[in-house]
Symmetry: C2
Subunit: 158 residues, 2 copies
Amino acid sequence: MSSQVLSAQLTREPKVQGWISFLRAHAAVTRELSARLEAQHGLTLSDFDVLAQLYHAPQNSLRRVDLSRQVLLTASGITRLLDGLERAGWVEKGRCQSDARVTYAVLTKVGLAKFEEARTSHLADIEALFGSRFSDEERATLAELLGRLPLADTACSE
Amino acid sequence: MSSQVLSAQLTREPKVQGWISFLRAHAAVTRELSARLEAQHGLTLSDFDVLAQLYHAPQNSLRRVDLSRQVLLTASGITRLLDGLERAGWVEKGRCQSDARVTYAVLTKVGLAKFEEARTSHLADIEALFGSRFSDEERATLAELLGRLPLADTACSE
DNA sequence: GCTGTATACTTGACCTGTCAACTATATTAG
DNA sequence: CTAATATAGTTGACAGGTCAAGTATACAGC
């Protein structure tokens, strides 16, 4: 009976199976990944994500709006996240002389060091929990398929 | 300049691109999907997920522990989620005569109707935002690739 | 029968992020 | 120049979820 139930579940909505796998995989992998990142470096996934964006940005700085688009948080989410990073001394505010509305988030020296410290182990964790499951070819396929999903419109709407 | 920056970002950590696509896609799709589900039916994605599990379970009922494994929430998350569904009258508690520790979550008639009401439009939304981007073959590929990710310990019960 | 350990579930404290409303600055139209 | 509107950012209230600790029951070994 138990195996009947299981197979009934696996086949009951064939079209949605990809989505279900997607949701479950996301929940499981991010949970483990964020536990490790938190334990080893005291960072959330979003913290890391923002530090990474700033690390690779020109002058190590970005407007909050742009950050919110790339990291897929709302504007207020970014404000609160940056609050934390500023309190930790990893990011500071920068004013924009051409537009007084914008505030840049600027990576500090300490923040840059923090990112470089966390980076290696986090990339290794991603590889262990995610990347290593796929061949190079499969990685490319996966990135291509996922890349078709709608990003831009939802990211900046509102 | 802007396009240089973009391509630098796309190529700077080749091994992680799949993971990045994955994170972004998840954030964008779930945000839109949950907005629609909330607007049309007053349900969160997790609410729907739990209703669906119960809908397909024998006797429309499941132990909280099993629910937490299938939906990938912690035990306390399940308690709180079910609180809401119980307050709405969609789910009720059932006691287990062979083990006084377990409390079943049982779908009510109203809850069953609620699920059937929400189901069609939600599946259509999933199809529109996710499924329709892929051919049948690609769907299968995607499900297979994502299925390799580690959710076994949390997701699978005997 | 006790005693220790494992399991099922709940609760309080808390964290992250959302939404809606707000301030402040920029821009465009008349 | 002024009015209307759009954009950048912050804030209060709150939703959804986690973790750690606690309660209650089950079960296994002595």
